[in-house]
């Protein structure tokens, strides 16, 4: 398990991206998340803001940045719904924090690992959302494991395409 070794982690560097990528990618994710279900006749089995949150938290290896981006995107995503603002924010905050924490300990260049993390964090995000809504707030929300599973799969499939594209925008020496 060379990828988890301390020497290997030291060799890893923090990626840098143009400012426009930092600014436009989350906005594009929000817009597409609002637009694509409309174009796909209601199918919303994916979470583009979560993909972007996990990606930047992983490659930046910074839990605080992942936390802030997750909170911001989650709150904006909540604001587009008619639900209480914050449930999605908390879920994505935790996901961003965990992705940033894990990013400093594993090989984020490996696509399989990134997709696995994305899949797991998507499930975790959905579980946190349901927990907050039903348990913490005591609100009525019907949900199904199947829908959450399909959403995690859809999110991972999008990550499969999006991560290599974002990798290309990296500023290299």
């Amino acid at each position: 398990m060379n990828i988890l070794g301390a020497d290997y982690r030291r060799d890893l560097g923090i990626r840098h991206y143009p400012v426009l990528i930092y600014a436009l990618t989350p906005l594009a994710a929000l817009v597409l998340q609002a637009l694509l279900p409309y174009l796909l006749h209601g199918y919303a089995w994916f979470d583009l803001p979560l993909v972007v949150t996990i990606y930047f938290a992983l490659v930046r290896r910074d839990p605080i940045q992942g936390t802030l981006m997750g909170a911001g995107l989650g709150i904006f995503e909540d604001a587009l719904t008619h639900h209480a603002i914050g449930a999605n924010g908390i879920a994505k905050t935790v996901a961003g924090f965990l992705a940033g924490s894990v990013g400093g300990r594993i090989d984020v260049e490996n696509h399989t690992i990134r997709l696995t993390i994305t899949f797991l964090l998507s499930l975790l995000s959905g579980a946190i959302y349901v927990f907050i809504y039903r348990i913490l707030l005591g609100l009525d929300l019907q949900w199904s494991w199947f829908a959450e599973l399909m959403k995690a799969v859809g999110t991972s499939l999008i990550a499969l395409v999006l991560y290599p594209l974002l990798d290309r925008t990296e500023i290299r020496d």
């Binding site: 906005l27 929000l30 817009v31 998340q33 609002a34 637009l35 694509l36 279900p37 409309y38 006749h41 209601g42 199918y43 919303a44 089995w45 583009l48 839990p63 605080i64 936390t67 802030l68 909170a71 709150i75 904006f76 995503e77 604001a79 587009l80 719904t81 008619h82 639900h83 209480a84 603002i85 914050g86 449930a87 999605n88 924010g89 908390i90 905050t93 935790v94 924090f97 940033g100 924490s101 907050i132 913490l136 707030l137 005591g138 609100l139 009525d140 929300l141 019907q142 949900w143 199904s144 829908a147 959403k151």
Partner: protein, 424 residues
């Protein structure tokens, strides 16, 4: 101390952000009278501001997308896809010549058809004032069935306005932004629309389930509910006008929360997953065409004039009634010479009581018997005795017969009432 914050900086930032969001959630949720928690439908100012920011961030790209989509389609249709247009134009010219001939014969039929169409569509055309809007985006979450339209406060949209399509109801306006509005679809879990089953007349509340399918909740089991039955709006929710199509019944499932109730799954009449153009009912005031409005105004004016005429006629009749003598005498006479009856013998009707008779005490009078006998009050002797005593007088009064017959006591005059001639 510094090392503590440095060492646990990541965790502290995480906890601070989580705590802030939890407090924000607590502000938005309140407990209802029924003891259940609910999100306040009227957002507080801060929450509304965040929603406005999100809308302002997302709506312009969505508008741009739709505009570019339409522009691309127009570019293709009007410029690029014009091969063979000249030949097509020639063929079309021939077709036009032929159709002009047919048009003359069909014109009359078309006019008749239009008249019938106006009659059929009368109810739809006169009732409500609507505003067409374009659906431009969604919430992006399958747990929040809301979508955005390109009309907002600039078109005087307001909360809780009904959103429909020609097929059926769609939802209601939940939030109004300056240039857009958020619409809560009827298949959302938090929506609620009063509906009624058209045939069985069972009422219920329509809302969505986890799968985004509308269902009527809280209904007692009823064998009459069958798939295919139409569902229409009941009109009691103050949002959707009565009688709008909602969908058809797909089936019935037990209510998972309450054992003795069922949920009626409804297939929505409107295509909720592929909404494009929608209509927002901006006013439920009756909207009549100009001609009908003129007719109504004329009718109202005539109605008022007719009422005035009737009133004037009634007043004139009252004046005439005061001036003309009445049909009944105010002071009727106490005797009726024609009949020779005394007032005591007169038999007034029930409503003919005169003031005089009403004022004096009524003294009962006995009627004259038709056949008085010895028991008759006032009689002094038997009828036979009367006859005996009266007979000589009658005999005496009679002239003696010239034939010399002696008048004897045996001669008995026939009773006056017998009617038979006396025997010689």
């Amino acid at each position: 101390m510094e090392s503590f914050f440095t060492r646990y900086r990541n965790l502290l930032v995480l906890l601070a952000i989580l705590l802030a969001q939890i407090i924000g959630l607590a502000v938005q949720v309140h407990r209802t009278d029924s003891g259940r928690n609910s999100v306040d439908p009227q957002d507080v100012a801060g929450v509304r501001l965040i929603r406005l920011w999100a809308d302002e961030a997302v709506t312009p790209p969505e508008r741009l997308f739709h505009a570019s989509e339409q522009g691309t389609v127009n570019l293709w249709q009007y410029y690029l896809d014009l091969r063979g247009v000249r030949d097509q134009n020639r063929d079309l010219q021939k077709t036009i010549d032929r159709l002009r001939l047919e048009q003359a014969s069909l014109l009359e039929d078309a006019r008749q058809g239009q008249r019938l169409q106006v009659l059929m569509d009368f109810q739809q055309k006169y009732v409500y004032k609507t505003l067409a809007a374009q659906a431009i985006g969604s919430s992006g979450s399958d747990s929040s069935r809301v979508f955005y339209i390109d009309k907002g406060a600039d078109y005087k949209l307001e909360r809780d306005m009904a959103v429909i399509t020609p097929d059926g109801i769609v939802g209601k306006v939940r939030e109004v932004f300056p240039h857009s509005a958020q619409v809560l679809a009827i298949n959302d879990q938090t929506s609620g629309a009063g509906v009624i089953l058209e045939t069985t007349r069972i009422r219920g509340i329509l809302r969505g389930n986890a799968a985004g399918r509308p269902q009527i909740v809280g209904i007692l089991p009823d064998q009459r509910i069958q798939p295919g039955e139409r569902v229409i709006t009941a009109g009691g929710d103050q949002i959707f006008p009565r009688g709008l199509p909602v969908g058809v019944v797909l089936g019935v499932t037990p209510d998972p929360d309450r054992d003795s109730f069922i949920d009626v799954i409804v297939k929505p009449a409107a295509h909720l997953d592929s909404l494009d153009e929608v209509l927002v009912i901006t006013s439920t005031e009756p909207r009549f065409p100009v001609e009908q409005q003129q007719d109504m105004a004329t009718s109202e004016a005539l109605k008022g004039a007719e009422a005035d005429a009737i009133k004037a006629q009634k007043k004139a009749s009252e004046i005439m009634a005061e001036r003309l003598p009445g049909l009944t005498e105010p002071h009727p006479t106490t005797t009726t010479p024609a009949s020779g009856q005394t007032p005591g013998n007169a038999q007034p009707g029930p409503d003919q009581a005169t003031p005089a008779t009403a004022a004096e005490p009524q003294i009962p009078k006995l009627l004259h018997p038709q056949h008085p006998d010895r028991f008759t009050p006032g009689a002094t002797s038997l009828p036979s005795q009367n006859e005996k005593t009266q007979a000589p007088a009658s005999v005496k009064s009679k002239p003696a017969p010239k034939s010399g017959a002696k008048p004897g006591p045996s001669v008995n005059p026939a009773p006056a009432h017998s009617g038979r001639n006396p025997q010689p």
